[in-house]
Symmetry: C2
Subunit: 653 residues, 2 copies
């Protein structure tokens, strides 16, 4: 599709088209809108529904995952345990004078980038159109963009900071703000040092106001809390995956960047529960030859952005990607993204640096899509280890474990504590419980020491939390000895591999990847959504509003409805070219034209959106071709090979 | 299905089965749960998804509706305008001593019902099993249930109150509480008078805490706010409908009754925009003969509950149902509910009494489903008139109207005000704007009077808000006269007919309607979900775990996957009867058994859940039958007419 590149991409044009066709629009627009909130109109909603449907088939049906639908309202205690109350936060700076609030890392990024662009201009270097557009927008807000040349060293320093911008702590950001004299860009006024702002929306559940709750920041927690029930649904078999599709929330400090940074968003998350001692995947062989472009940790740490291209099989066997299950999902994510319209040349897998990883993750690879805003994290694929199940189990005293019969019983030797409870009570009275608990919680290593002490001295002397002074326990009260046991069951907490999709970000990236203008007329834009996910598959266009054509429109509509192919009829008086142009913007891949020959011989023409090629055939043959290309994964050439090519000079008039 | 009735329905058994099979479970159960919040497990989630999918096809695709997906977070101002901030509330009573909070109407209902049952028992009258179960549960909470005989008059009074319980205001409930000496049922302690509690969950949008927001109480508002964009999407054609499927929220005071009263729930709502002067529906003829059971306002007001049975055509032509569009949707709702498994004998359409209608509605019919909790409102079908569009337009000064070219221009005579702006400014100075606005806002009637005054006195004297004293305007400054105008366009605010579905309530009612126990063994329960919406369509069961059968399982699985028929394999070692019993509870309509004959001739048996009948045939024929019955609306007898009946004595062992 080399023709697509002849007219340079313009984000402004794309956004105009998407809003005009009501793919999406700011929520509450007639009230002035609320930043970070968007509504999907009919074509956006259908595109989203088709992507979700494809996701469900590609992941849930294909792998027999257990889908759940959990509540968004979540009580405080759950998210306190998961770590979100303490750690799901961004750093913000206030301008006390104006009351404005800035997200600290974005502020530093914005100001330093602006200064670098000013420097570039001062040096007479070319600024890309994209940079220029950004600059124009920002100029309204950032007063200080002046074309000032910077010292070469300063330029280098700024660039280093920008490369690491995701990794700074709040105090570090505060130091940068002071060091580089960063102020409120609009007024030049001073800013308070960064403070943490928790990104969860808070609310009160019930009328008393005493049960604090949040809107969930991810769909994952509901899946973890239901782990035992899900394991039972799966007949106690491991490994298995649950999945969930639903809205999550993030109270962004100052959302910009359109659909890429929003406060309410659709997520699709998989929690794949796996034995920590065996993270191989039974179906890994099916994907191992998938070639991918990686940006591993090591390359980033060396200050480079150069992509490493290899198969996922090589990536796993070399240890770059930790294990087969992680690798399997990375490859499956790749295939999914291509299916729904992502340009493979604008997709990379980037490994998280240790200082940017979410608090629960032990390793993480993001599928990043390139857009005019840069590389955007659209799918996270994290190894959350046993973090979540462990913390919830510890907090609730519910066992969240797998119990597996061992193929053969194993004999283990362990130190065990044997307490004489009859004597313990009278001796320690109210402290008896605490002392018992203390002894039961000792590690094997500590028990070995205590056993020695007991046999050497006939007693042990310990410090127990909550009891003042030493506690002395004689050998008449307790025995500590190594015991042989035969175990028939292995009990373990599974690890979790979590592919997590931000649907809105993916949709927006696909818009950018598939939007282009016809070289013969740059005002005629086309959204080349794959037929599988396009909102409407077919536009039915009668050539004129002549009464003879009306029954034909009805007949074809009935056939399409019966075949459950989403279609629209456009019988307006606009020229046929205009009607197609409108639907090119809507991403409608096929047009069926009804003309006066149709009235004679029943034949219709089928038009393909991207090439504007046409073929002619009977309604049955044309609809069959549409169905095969849309749902059967067949190409246009294949699907229409038995139909007659059709030429017209006036079609696009 | 007369066999279904031989074992009496038990809600307790149903709930046990639904929880054991993880159709749903209390959210955060390992944390003790939060009342009014439930998670759907895999079968519940699939059932819900299938119902939503059926809804989408039945309504959105069939009628070419415009689906949108709007945010749940909603700023204060929008819901202030819609009336929800002021009126979306219930009345609650506090017990200041214990801190407990009661929903006032539920409290009155519960206590009076308990007293009536105590009276019944004291009179030695039979108490139904259902009442008895309720009583047992309540006994823990309601101390005062004693078997005390009441005066006949008191019984009558209580019954009257209970019949009208939905219609009382807060102060009226307060009077009832005092009059009948209603106290905290658990302690007998006194209660504060009822106060209003707004049922919206409140939160703060953004970091400043200054933008107050709520979780939406309905999906409707997003559709109203996008009205102009939707009208444009529809090429300005009327009538048309938008639709939305998504979660809404209601912070219930003290939710009970399981899935019927929850704080977070899935809604599917249609907003059908119609010309207020013509509420006919073009497709009404298609449904007019649908026979329905109605409970109109007039019957309820006469103190009766007797249903009126007639066709929707008769209901509309007699004026009982206000207009064709309302009638059309009532009939379409009926057909939808039957398709997904509602028992028509337990469905009625009840008209709202004027004092129970939502603040925005001008007429409303509920589809109510009968359950062990009584008749439950599951679908509302309201005529919201022009309420919402009008209030949002007034608040935002955005026109939310339809402009239609008149078939022929019409001439209208109107009084018009002609202000001499050049003289107005110097004369009224800072008040000029207010005076102008005053004149522009006069009705035709007021203008007629002013015109007379002006011609009689050469001036008018008026009082203008915000200006002290009289304002005198001479005829040199203003002219008021009747003018003839030719209008080519008619401008109007559409009315809205709103069918609104509570998906969770419908799902629960279907569980009750379709749950039964086999007469030969009442511990073997069956959930007779229609194949179309059943979570899984087919259970594949190898007769034994013999290695010869394994490739056959794989082969059949591949065929089912290719045909996109949701299925499960159960190759556990449980007896075939046990495996089917488990899936009867899961509502799986078909079983395919693989035995040693399959290895020889490729044939398999197909079992039907409700009748346990079996037929035998090739895999292709069996799968075709499953597909036709599940998605083609064909009966078991028809779908399997060409297959061989198969008898076995051991199948259900």
């Amino acid at each position: 599709m080399s023709t697509r590149t002849t007219v340079p991409f313009s984000r402004e044009t794309l956004e105009q088209v998407l809003k005009r066709r009501f793919f999406f629009a700011p929520s509450f627009e007639i009230y002035g809108g609320v930043s970070g909130l968007y509504d999907y109109g009919p074509p956006g909603c259908a595109f989203q529904a088709n992507v979700v449907d494809t996701w469900r088939k590609h992941f849930i049906l294909e792998e027999d995952m257990l889908e759940v639908d959990c509540t968004m309202l979540t009580p405080h205690e759950v998210l306190k345990t998961s770590g979100h109350v303490d750690k799901f936060a961004d750093w913000m700076c206030r301008d006390l004078k104006t009351g404005e609030i800035f997200r600290a890392d974005h502020l530093v990024e914005e100001v330093l980038e602006a200064r670098l662009k000013g420097d570039k201009a001062a040096r007479g270097q070319a600024v890309t159109e994209e940079e220029d557009e950004d600059k124009k927008k920002r100029k309204k807000k950032v007063k200080e963009i002046k074309n000032i040349k910077l010292d070469d060293e300063v330029v280098k320093e700024y660039e280093t900071v920008l490369n690491q911008i995701d990794g700074f702590s709040g105090p570090q950001l505060g130091e940068l703000i002071t060091k580089y004299n960063i102020t409120n860009p609009a007024t030049g006024g001073p800013l308070e040092p960064p403070v943490e702002f928790n990104l969860m929306f808070e609310t009160a559940i019930g009328p008393s106001g005493q049960l604090k709750g949040y809107l969930r920041p991810e769909t994952a927690q509901g899946q973890f809390l239901n782990f035992s029930k899900l394991l039972e649904c799966n007949n106690e078999k491991m490994p298995f995956a649950s999945a969930s599709i639903g809205k999550s929330f993030r109270n962004e400090i100052s959302p910009r960047a359109g659909l890429l940074r929003v406060r309410e968003f659709l997520m699709a998350e998989i929690e794949h529960f796996v034995d920590p001692e065996n993270k191989n995947h039974p179906r890994f062989a099916e994907v191992e030859n998938t070639k991918l472009r990686f940006l591993p940790k090591s390359v980033q740490e060396a200050g480079s952005n150069e992509l490493v291209e290899k198969t996922i099989g090589e990536a796993v066997s070399s240890g770059m990607v930790d294990n087969q299950t992680l690798g399997y999902f990375i490859a499956r994510i790749y295939h999914f993204l291509l299916k729904i319209g992502v340009d493979p040349q604008r997709l990379r897998f980037r490994q998280h640096l240790s200082n940017e990883m979410a608090h629960y993750a032990s390793d993480c690879w993001d599928a990043e899509l390139h857009t005019s805003y840069g590389w955007i994290e659209c799918v996270g694929c994290a190894d959350r280890s046993a973090y979540d199940l462990s913390v919830h189990a510890a907090r609730t005293n519910e066992k969240l474990v797998v119990r597996q019969a061992l193929p053969e019983p194993v004999t283990v030797e362990k130190f065990e504590v044997d307490i004489d409870k009859k004597k313990f009570g009278p001796k320690f009275r109210k402290d008896a419980g605490a002392v018992t608990k203390y002894l039961e919680e000792r590690t094997q290593c500590e028990l070995e020491d205590l056993a020695q002490e007991l046999s050497a001295n006939g007693k042990i002397v310990v410090q127990v939390k909550g009891i003042e002074g030493d506690v002395e326990i004689g050998s008449d009260l307790v025995k500590i000895a190594k015991v042989k046991r035969t175990e028939h069951v292995r009990e373990f907490t599974p690890n979790v591999i979590e592919p997590s999709f931000g649907i809105g970000r993916i949709l927006y990236s696909i818009f950018e990847h598939q939007f282009w203008s016809r070289p013969e007329d740059k005002d005629r834009s086309v959204l080349s959504l794959p037929p599988l996910v396009a909102p409407t598959k077919v536009l039915v266009v009668p050539l004129s509003s002549h009464a003879d054509l009306l029954p034909l429109v009805k007949k074809i509509s009935a056939v399409l409805r019966k075949e459950q192919i989403p279609f629209k009829v456009d019988d307006s008086s606009a020229s046929i070219g205009k009607r197609y142009a409108r639907n090119d913007e809507l991403g409608t891949p096929f047009g069926i034209t009804i003309d006066f020959d149709t009235a004679k011989d029943g034949s219709v023409t089928l038009r393909e959106r991207d090439s504007t090629k046409q073929v002619r055939g009977s309604v049955e043959d044309i609809v069959r071709a549409v169905k095969e290309i849309t749902y059967g994964g067949v190409s246009w050439a294949e699907g229409t090979s038995k139909l007659t090519p059709f030429e017209t000079q006036s079609e696009e008039a």
